[in-house]
Symmetry: D4
Subunit: 246 residues, 8 copies
C-alpha cells in the first residue's frame, strides 16, 4: 500500500478529504497489527501476493495462539509451518475447520482458491519427504494442483525418465534432494518449466547437513534452476506461487 497509495493519499490530503492527522495515522496504523513482541504484516498479501506465514518453532503457546487468532480475524485464513503435534492440538482446539499434516508439519485454516496451475513435486529419495511434503501442502494451500513424483533420484535414472511426460505437465517444478543434490540439474535439462531446487539436510558424513546438496544446486550445469535455503519447503512453495502469478 505504502508506495502505490502515496499519490492517492497525498491527493486526498490536498483535496481536504483527509485530515493531516488522519493521514499520518493511516500511514502508521494500516499495514500491520502490533501484538507487542510481534508485528503482523497484514498487508503483505497486497504487496507481495501472499500473506505472511507463521513459523511456529520457538514460539511460546501464548504468542502462537495470539498471532494465529489475529491472522484468522483479519484474513479468514492462515498458514503455519513447523508445527509440532502438541502445537497443532492446541490450535485446533481453538479454531474450527483446521487442517494439520504431521509429515509436512503444517497447520492451516482456510486456503487460497484453487488456481489453474500445476505444481510438480519431485524428491530424490524417501528421506526427503518431510521437506517435499511441506512444499506440497503449502503449494496446495496457495491454490496449486500438486503432482507428486517421489524417490526418482538419479542413481536409478529410469524412474525419472519413465515419468517425464507427466512431469512436463507441471507449470513449475520443486525438486527436493539431499546427499549429492544432483536431481535438479538433470530435471532442468529435460523440461522447460522453472525448477526450484530445495537442498535437504538428508545424508551423513560429508553432506554437512545439506551444504553439499546446496552447493551442487548452485552450480547446476543446467540453467534455469532457482535455489532456496536448506529444508525450506515453504520458501519453495511461496516462490512457485509468485512464479505462476507473474
Amino acid at each position: 500500500m505504502r508506495e502505490d497509495g502515496l499519490r492517492e493519499l497525498l491527493a486526498a490530503v490536498a483535496e481536504g478529504e483527509l485530515s493531516l492527522d488522519a493521514a499520518c495515522e493511516r500511514l502508521r496504523e494500516l499495514p500491520y497489527a502490533d501484538l507487542g513482541s510481534a508485528k503482523l504484516d497484514l498487508h503483505r498479501e497486497l504487496r507481495s501476493g501472499a500473506p505472511e506465514a507463521i513459523f511456529a518453532r520457538g514460539k511460546s503457546d501464548r504468542d502462537l495462539a495470539a498471532i494465529v487468532a489475529r491472522m484468522i480475524d483479519d484474513a479468514g485464513r492462515v498458514l503455519v509451518t513447523r508445527v509440532t503435534p502438541e502445537q497443532a492440538t492446541l490450535l485446533s482446539a481453538r479454531h474450527q475447520g483446521a487442517d494439520y499434516d504431521d509429515v509436512a508439519r503444517v497447520w492451516s485454516v482456510g486456503r487460497f482458491d484453487a488456481g489453474d496451475w500445476c505444481l510438480g513435486l519431485l524428491s530424490a529419495g524417501t528421506a526427503d519427504l518431510p521437506v517435499a511434503e511441506e512444499a506440497a501442502v503449502c503449494g496446495a494451500w496457495l491454490g496449486a494442483k500438486v503432482d507428486r513424483h517421489y524417490d526418482v533420484g538419479i542413481a536409478g535414472v529410469h524412474r525419472l525418465l519413465d515419468r517425464l511426460a507427466e512431469i512436463r505437465r507441471a507449470s513449475v517444478l520443486i525438486v527436493a534432494a539431499g546427499m549429492d543434490g544432483a536431481l535438479p540439474t538433470l530435471v532442468a535439462g529435460l523440461v522447460a518449466a522453472p525448477v526450484i531446487a530445495v537442498p535437504t539436510s538428508v545424508g551423513y558424513g560429508a553432506s554437512f547437513d545439506g551444504l553439499a546438496a546446496l552447493l551442487t544446486m548452485l552450480n547446476a550445469c543446467s540453467p534455469g534452476v532457482a535455489v532456496v535455503n536448506i529444508d525450506n519447503g515453504y520458501g519453495a512453495a511461496s516462490l512457485a506461487h509468485r512464479i505462476q502469478g507473474c
Copy 2:
C-alpha cells in the same frame, strides 16, 4: 525429444515406416552435434525452452570458433558469455550482424523475438554492474524488455522507494548485490513478482568473494526469493526466461 517422441518413434517402427537401423541411428544422431571434444546440445531449445549458451572462458580460439559456427548454422542464432574483447574481435570477423557488449562481456548473433514481458534489473551498487549487465543483455537476447534500476542499495533506501512504482511493472526481477547482499530481501517484501537474487563477488575482507552475499540471500526473510550462483548473470536471465514462459 527423447521421451516425448518415444511413442511416435515406436509407432513408426511398428508400422514399418521406419527401419530398425534408422530408428537407432535417429535416436543417436538427432539431439546433438559431435565436434570431438564438444557435443553441442542442439535440441536443448526443444526440451527446455532456450538454446545452449556458450561459455567462452577457457576455450581455445579454434574450439570457440567451431562451436559458434555450428550453432549459427543450426539455429541461426547464438549467445556467448564471458567473451574477452580479443575473442569478440575474432568471432565478429567471421560472422555478420554480431553484437558485443564489453561491460556484460556477451557476444551474440540473432536473438529471440521480443516478447511481451518486462524484466526488471536492480543492482545494489555500481560495482555490481558487470554482473547485472550480463543478466540484462542475456535477458534482452531472450526477448525481454529490460528496465534497469542501478545503485539502489539499502544503505540509501529512498533511492529504491522512489522507484517502486516502476519496479513493480516488471513481471520478473533480477537483483544483483555484493557485500551484504541485503537488497533482494527488501525488494521481495515490496513486490509481488518473483525475485531472482544474484550474489556478486563485490566486496572485500569478510565478503569472501560473494559467499557472504550468497548466504544472506539464501536466508532472505522475505519468501519468494530464488538464488543463483555467485556472479551468474546469465543463469539469472535464463531462469527469468523460464519463469515468464511458464
Copy 3:
C-alpha cells in the same frame, strides 16, 4: 590502577611514605580477589568503566554463589548473564532485592544510576527476542533508558519506517537480527547514531547458527555499524555503555 597509579606509587615509595614491601604487596593485592579457580577483577570498573559481569553458564552452584557474594560485598551490585531459573532461585534465596528476567536470562542486584542516555533496541523478528532482551536488561542495569522496537525486519520495511522518528531519538542503537541479518544496514543508512549489530543464531539451513547474519553485518554497505559476537546481547549493551560515556 596499574599504570595511572604507578607514578604516585613510586612517589610514595620515594618519599618514604610507603615501604618497599607494602608497595609490592599493594601492586599484587589490590586489583582482584583470588577465589581459587576464579580471580575477580574488582577494579575493572575503574579501568574500563563497568564492572566485570558474571557468565553463569557452566559454573558450579558453589563457585557461582561464591563469586556473586564476593562481587556484592565488594561493589554492592552485580550483573549475571545466562542464568537458568534454577540458578536464579539459588541466588535469590541468598540475596535480597535481586531481579531476574527469564526471557533475558539475566539476574542482578543493584544497578548503575540512571543516566540521561537512551538505548534503542531493535529486533528483526520475534525469535530474536531472548538476545535483544539480554541487551535491553543489561543496558537498563548500566543506566540506560531503553526503547524497544521489535519485529521490524526488512521483509516488511514499513514497520520500520513508521517508527523512524522514535528510533532516531536514541543515542545508541542495538539491532539484533538472525537469518539474513540485513536490518542493521538499513537502519544505519537512516540514522546518525552508532548502530551495534548483534547476529543471532536464529534461522535454519544455510544460516549456519548465525554465521550468515554475522557475515552480512560485517559487510554492511552502510558505514558506522559495529559488530559483536553471535547472540552476545550483553556485549552489545556493554559496548553501548562505553560509547555513551566517551
Copy 4:
C-alpha cells in the same frame, strides 16, 4: 529527509503551499543525484551524520571523475578511498586543494571542521600500517585529532603499557591487528573508551587473509569491542565519527 519531513510535506500540501506534482517530484528528486550507473546519496550527511565516501577501486576513470566532481559541486568536499596513484593524479589535475596519502590510499578535497575529539590509533605491527593509516586519515578528515601508537602488539606488551596514559586520553580507539588479532582484547581491558577492532589481512598460513584475526576479535574476552570488516579502515573511522557524535 524521507520520514522526518513527511509531516511537513503533507502539511505543505494540505495548506496548498505545495502542489501535488511538486510534492511527488520533491520526494523523488531531492535525496540523490542520478548519474546513470550511480545514484549519489547526497543527503546521507543529513540522515547519518557523514557524507557518502567514494570507493575508487574498480571504477572507471570517467565514472570516478564524474562522481567526484558532482560530490564537490554539491557539498564542497569529498573523501575517496582505495585510490591508486594513477587515479590520484587524474583527480588532482581536475581539482585544486586536493590531498593524497599514498600509504592510506586516500584522496580528498576539503574536510570537516576540526572537532574536539581525540581518536587513538593503535596497530599491532608495522605491516598493519596501510589499514591503520586509512583509518587515521579518514578520521582526521572527519574532524578528529589523531594520536598514533603503532607496533604495540602483545608479543612485547611493555610497548603498550608504557604508552597507556597517552592512549587513555583518546575518546575513541581504533585498533588494527592481523595474525592473532589479540591486541583489541588487551586494550579494551585497560581503557574505558570504546574500542573499534579492525582485523587486517596481514599474516600467512592459517591467518586465512584476516579470518583468524576477525574471529579473535569477535570472541574478545573484554566487553566493549566493536568489530568491523577485514582491512576496513574507513569503516572504523566512520564508526568512530558516529560514536563521538552521539
Copy 5:
C-alpha cells in the same frame, strides 16, 4: 535394462512380437516397484552388479517393513544398513533366517554366493570398529572372504608391519581411520592392491567430525587410494565388490 535392451525391444516391436502398448508398459513397469513414497530399484543388480541396499535410518516401521518384504519377494535376499536393535527385532519377527550384527548395525536375509576374493579390513583404532564392521559385514554379504586387522594405526607402525604379509593377501583393502586419517597413505605405499579409504567421525576438537581425516585421505601422498564418504562402511564394501568384479 533400459539401454541394452532397447534394440531388442525395438526389434520385437518391429516384428510384431510386441504390441506398442505392451512395449510402452514394459518400459515403464519393469525396472522398479512403486510402493508409494518409495520406488524400489529392482533391476539395479542387473545394471550395476549389486542390488539396492536399504538405509534404515529415518524410515518409519511400516515403510521399512514394506520395502524389506518387497525386496525379499523379488530377489530372495536383502541388505539393510544402520538398523537399530528395535528395527532389527521388528524385521526378524517377520522373516526367517535373518542375521543382525549390532556392532555393524546391519540386518540381512540371504546373501551372495561366496566368491574367491579376499577383502582386507584395516582400522587405525578401536573406535573405528562400527564403521569397519559395517564394511566387513556388507563385504561378507556380497561374497567376500574378510580378513580383519584392527587397531594398526601409524602411531605404533610395527603393529602394521608385522602383519604385512597377511595384509598383502587381500585383493582389495578397506582402511577405516579417524583423527589424522593417515593409515591409508602408509598402506597404499606398501601394497599393490587398491586401497579404499573410509574416514570416520572419530576424534575430537579439530577433527571436525571426520573432515580432517577426509582431507588427509584425499591428499594421500601414495597414489591408488579411493576415498568414500565419512563413516560410509557400506559404500566402501560396495565399491570393493565392484572392483573385484571388474
Copy 6:
C-alpha cells in the same frame, strides 16, 4: 622388499651367506636412490605395482633432469606429470623417444606393455579436458586401452544414454566433472564397473575451486564411486591401474 624379503635376509645371515654388515647395508641401500634433496623410491613398483611418478611443478630444472635421468637409468621408463612446455623441451633434448602431451601436460619415456583392460574416460564438459586427458594419457602409459567420451554431462542426459553400450565395455571408468559434479552418480547407477570420480576445479562462484564437485561426489547416491583429489587425473589413472590388476 622390506617385509617380504626379511625372512630370506635373516636366513642368509643365519647360514653365513651374508655378513652382518652387508645385511645392514643392503637394508639401507636397496630400496631407493638418494639424490640429496630427493630419495627416489625405485622399488615402489615391486611393492605397489607401479613406479613412482614425478610431479614436475615446482622442481628446479637441475633437480628435475637429475631425477628423470636416474629413473630412466634404473627402470628404462618414466612418467612425469604437470610438465610445462619449457620443461618438456629441456627433458626431450636429453632423452630419445620421449612423448609430450601439452593438453595433459604429461611427459614420458617408455611405458608399460599394453594390457587387455579398457579404461573408459568421461568428462562432463569440455573445460574438464586437461584433467581428463591427464588421466587418459597416464592410463595409456600404464597399459590401458582408453575410450574417451567427453562432454556428456547430465544437463543433456541423452548424450550419455546414447553412448551407454560403449561405456559399459570399459572395465574401469574415470569420470571428470566440475561445477555440480553430478555425472559420476548418474554413471554409477547405469554401469557395473567401478567409477573413479575426479572433481575438477572448473566452474565459478560457489564452485569454490572444485569443492562443490568434490562434496557432490563424496555424497553420491549410487554406491561404488571412488573419489580422488580435485584435478588429480594421475591419481585416478593410478587407482584404475591398481583396480584392474587386483
Copy 7:
C-alpha cells in the same frame, strides 16, 4: 625396539644364538599385546618415553576393563583419560590404589617417579578448568611438579603480570584458553620457556567450538608457541613430558 634392536637381533641370529623362527616370532610378538579389537602398544614407553594412555570415551565396559588390566599387568601403571564417574567406579572396584579426578576426568594407577621439572599451568578463564586440569593431572602422573595459575586472561592483564615471577619458574608452560585464545601469545612474549597452547571449546557464537582460539594460537605473534588439538589436555601434558626429557 624394532630398529634399535635390529642389528643385535641379526647378530644373535648370525651367531646361532637365536633360531630363525624364534627371531621372526620375536619380531612379531614383542611390541604389543593383541586383545582382539585392540592391540596394546606395550613398548611405546621404550620408543617414545611415555606409555600409551587409554582414551575411555566410547569404549565398552568390557573392553575398557580388559585393556586397563593388561596395561597394569604389563607395566604396573596406567593412565586413562575422559573417564566418566561410572567408568571410574567400575575400574576402581577392580584395582587397588587407583586415583580418580572428576574435574579432569582422569583415572590412574601408579605413576612416574617425581621428576625435577616444574610444569606451569595457566588458564584464561574458569570455564577452561576441565581442560587445564586434565593437563595438570596427566602432567603430575608423568612426574611433574605442577603450578596452577587460573583465570589470568588478558582482559585483566594485571592478574597475569602480578604472577609473572612465579610463572617464570616453570620449565614448560601449558596455557589453556577459549574464546579469543589470546593468552598464549602474551605469555610467550614474557617468558623464555616453551609455551604449549591448548585451545578450548569454551565460548559461544563465533568461537565455533574452539576454532577461533585455535586459529589465534596458530597465528601467535610471539614465536615459541606449540599448539595442540582443541580441548586436548592430555596431549599437552604428553608434549610437556617429551620436552622436559629432551
Copy 8:
C-alpha cells in the same frame, strides 16, 4: 625486564639512588627502540631467550634497512626471514659478514654460539624444502647442529625406517610436510624427542593451501606433537630453541 626488575627499581628509588623522573624514564625508554612506525623489542632476548627476528616481506627498503641497522648496532647480530634476493643484495651492501640463503630466504649477520644440541630436520617431500630450509637455517643461527633427512614421506616408509637410528640422535625434531601431512604422526610414534610439525602449503586441490596438513597434524594419533602455523619454518626453529633451553 619489566617484572623481574620492578622490585630492584623500586628499591633503587626507595634508597634515593634513582630519581623519580629517572625511574619513569627508564621504565619507558629501556625495552625498545622507537623508529617511528616500528618499535624494536630490544629486550626480547632477555625475556624470552631469543632476539626479535625481522620479517622482511612487505617492508619498504628504507624501513628494512633502518631496522636491521638498529638491531646490529644494539645486539651485534640479526636474523631476517622471507628476504627476496633484491632485499638481500641491498642489505649485504651495507653490512659485512652477512649470510644469505636463497632457498631458505634467510639473511643474517652474526649468530648464537654453537650449542650442544642437535636439531633433526625431516621433510616429507622435495617440495617442502623451502620451509624445511627456513627452519634449518634459523635453527643453525640459534646455535643448533642441524641434521637433515629430506624426502622421507610415508608413501615409501622404508626411507624413514632406514634412517631411524640417526633421527633418534636429535634432541628436537622438526617435521615439514604438505599434502596429507601424515609424517609427524609416524615419527612421533618412533622417537622420544619432541616433534614440531610444520604444515606446508604444498599440494593441490583439497589440500587447501596447507589446511589439510594442518588438520592432520592437530589430530595426530601419536601424542607429543607440537604444531605451528602453515609454512612457518622460523616459528618451528624458534620453538625448538626454547625447548632445548628449558
